[in-house]
Subunit: 443 residues, 2 copies
């Protein structure tokens, strides 16, 4: 039980994994290329704030750190849609009492690093990994240091240095794909120490090919994110002057604009960032394995990037314990079993962007939503909407994706009928016939 | 006209491009990481011998080097299929007088490097590129040398160092995918200075999920290549002992085995190699561009890897001349226009593996082939089989792929009828209706 485990990347996934493995008795160290975020004035890197939900919470509880984190969470009960006239419509995320949680990435990361250090993990910052020898299971860092480990875990994100090295080994499949949209963050400041919109919602301004969203922060600000094409009209490429930006926001996001007096300055000052999706296979090479974004970076539109990474950690730790920490068997097994679920959430996240920004005004989509809520009223346990399977359950993502497709097919079939003629027991019969076996809770 | 053009990679595509651009008056140099192949005993790297066809020949003629190369070509008029009993069946590649050409990669490469040097190109071997600064348009080599150029062309193959650098720039899409099959080369030696099989054919032993092929060489040998899964039964992983190999070849390739007395030794001695497909987009960054395998590495099953790379060279040079060598305009335009054709030949090559190894015994496939040859008899100019569009024309690959799909659809529709009831003018009517506009020769 004293295997030496080296984790590359002290982000969310790496820090959480370190806590769990350290508490299992291993000799755990983390190497992070950036400076200690607790000592830098401004957190570097990505800052979309995050939506923590069931799949992320369960591993935090497993690590015994959820209680530390809970005070920093802001519950969001559903989507608050803003139309062009500023009218609001509420869509709950799930049943009464179900919600997701807005949390600052930087805050959460600092808490997890703190927890890792308190558990006895050695965390080395300013250590950029430049080379991996998969045969010898050694890492080399920019400062010349070389480390040997019984297990190397790459949790170093979408642009993983460990994965980059794997890419040049034989038969390693890899893809990176940037979507046509980029994003820019904007901030709604509080007035008199108060939130300027209702805080317990994820606010959305869906506008067809683009959208604005806003999540609440503990300091009473909202972080707004504009997801917008790089090219075309309108796009980042067409918003050149102060007037362009001003009239664009007047036209599409008037109510949000009114809450940001310095909007144009923010727009010029804040960077425009791109959104990448990556896939690879296998996730391991000898005694090295990738987890989280390093293995499967996804777009943020299902709020599952961090949650899926944390779920990787739980499943990996559970499998490793069940297989008696026999890494040579665990690594290929985990990579093989988990891959299909990572592929599934990747597809779900890409697809949810279209739903969020575009389908809201689509009559077919609205009819389907209406039918679904009726089915659910009658069969609350048998028919779980796709969003809930993804967000509020442990069901494998691939199974959620499969069932979601079947649900859509069934609804499309029954929507051929007049609404008041639909026989709901026939709907469930059809659904059950199509879904057959599949996953059951507790498996 | 004295722009400095630096080409990275002195393989087939890079050497040919160098000849053409030098003859247009540019200052051209090539940097190659390997040693001069003319001075090494054994050519390093890939050695599947190649099938040179129309799309490859035209750029060689454009460069004025085809006459030098022609004597080294061995025409192959069609496929010679070997069944398990050793029975032979001939399938011509095209019309009377149409053929493809077997040529040694090493031989062709040496002739092209020689031609480049004769044209006045400076070729530097032992120069491994380690870094590219796309902003400054500079290359750095392992020996410390740094070069600035007006145009940088990466023709450094499937594992391109230039592309590797592009991969870490924003919004660069990339994928590398290895197929489930690997390959191993084997050699049939001549006896009494004579070929042991008919030389003017591409010999194929199709066996469902795997196959053996053989191409003739100028020295009267045949290079055989076994394309075979890495895993499963049978596969490379199940052929462990001398007896395994012996009985496998006895069962599936008896007639070929009889021509290789040292087969088992060759099998153990020769490496097992993998087969990769790569895609990227865009192909350029500022003043740097990728051509050939560096931009689009494909599997070898359509015999179009080199041919598509040579066609890149012709189209790039033609476009550049037409756009008055204005690189800042040419690079995005070429990348944008050619990409869909590279994607098309990539798909065609993957699909042709299934046709070569598997469809030969498929009754639907054979009925379609029979129908196609009847259509073609009656409409030799209007109905050109997919293989001929790819191999014997300049039609964009994407258009060949599109027309090939339409042809398949039309044939599948008419194969619902009894064979002797098929009205061929109706077939053509349907084909013409579906294909509408599209590409015309001379465009």
């Amino acid at each position: 039980m004293k295997d030496k485990i080296t984790i590359v990347g002290a982000g969310l996934v790496g820090s959480l994994l370190a806590v769990i493995l350290k508490k299992k008795g291993f000799d755990v160290q983390i190497f992070e290329k950036r400076k200690d975020p607790r000592k830098s004035e401004i957190a570097e890197g990505r800052s979309i704030n995050l939506a923590l939900s069931h799949r992320g919470i369960r591993p935090l509880k497993m690590a015994g750190v959820f209680e530390t984190i809970e005070p920093y969470l802001i519950p969001m009960k559903g989507r608050m849609m803003h139309d062009q006239a500023g009218e609001l419509t509420f869509q709950p995320y799930g049943k009464e009492g179900q919600f997701i949680n807005s949390v600052s990435r930087a805050q959460l990361n600092e808490l997890l690093i703190e927890s890792a250090e308190q558990a006895g993990v050695d965390v080395y910052f300013d250590h950029k990994c430049t080379d991996v020898d998969f045969e010898a299971s050694t890492l080399t860092f920019e400062n010349g240091k070389t480390i040997q480990a019984d297990l190397i875990v790459g949790t170093d994100g979408a642009f993983s240095a460990i994965r980059k090295q794997m890419q040049f080994t034989d038969r390693f499949n890899f893809s990176q794909h940037y979507i046509e949209h980029g994003y820019k963050e904007l901030c709604i400041e509080p007035v008199d120490g108060k939130f300027l919109m209702e805080p317990n919602y994820l606010h959305i301004w869906p506008r067809g090919n683009f959208m604005l969203i806003a999540l609440p922060n503990a300091d009473k600000t909202f972080t707004c994110t504009l997801f917008f094409p790089f090219e075309g009209t309108p796009s980042f490429s067409t918003l050149k002057s102060r007037e362009d930006i001003d009239s664009f926001f007047d036209q599409y996001f008037k109510d949000a604009k009114d809450l940001m007096p310095d909007l144009v300055d923010q727009f010029f000052h804040n960077p425009t960032s791109s959104l990448v999706t990556t896939k690879c296979e296998p996730w391991h090479k000898n005694r090295s394995i990738l987890l989280g974004d390093a293995a499967h970076a996804i777009v943020p539109f299902y709020g599952q990037g961090m949650n899926s990474g944390f779920e990787d950690v739980r499943l990996f730790a559970e499998m490793a314990e069940a297989m008696n920490w026999d890494w040579d068997k665990i690594l290929p097994e985990f990579s093989n079993r988990r891959k299909k679920d990572a592929d599934a959430i990747l597809d779900l996240a890409l697809h949810n962007f279209i739903e969020m920004r575009d389908h809201v005004g689509d009559p077919n989509f609205l009819r389907r939503k209406k039918l679904e809520s009726k089915i659910q009223e009658q069969y609350p346990k048998e028919w779980i909407p796709l969003y809930s399977m993804v967000t509020f359950s442990d069901m494998p993502y691939s199974e959620a994706l499969r069932l979601g497709k079947i649900q859509k097919q069934v609804m499309d079939e029954f929507l051929q009928q007049e609404e008041d003629e639909i026989n709901f027991s026939k709907v469930m019969e059809r659904f059950n016939a199509l879904k057959q076996g599949g996953w059951k809770a507790g498996q």
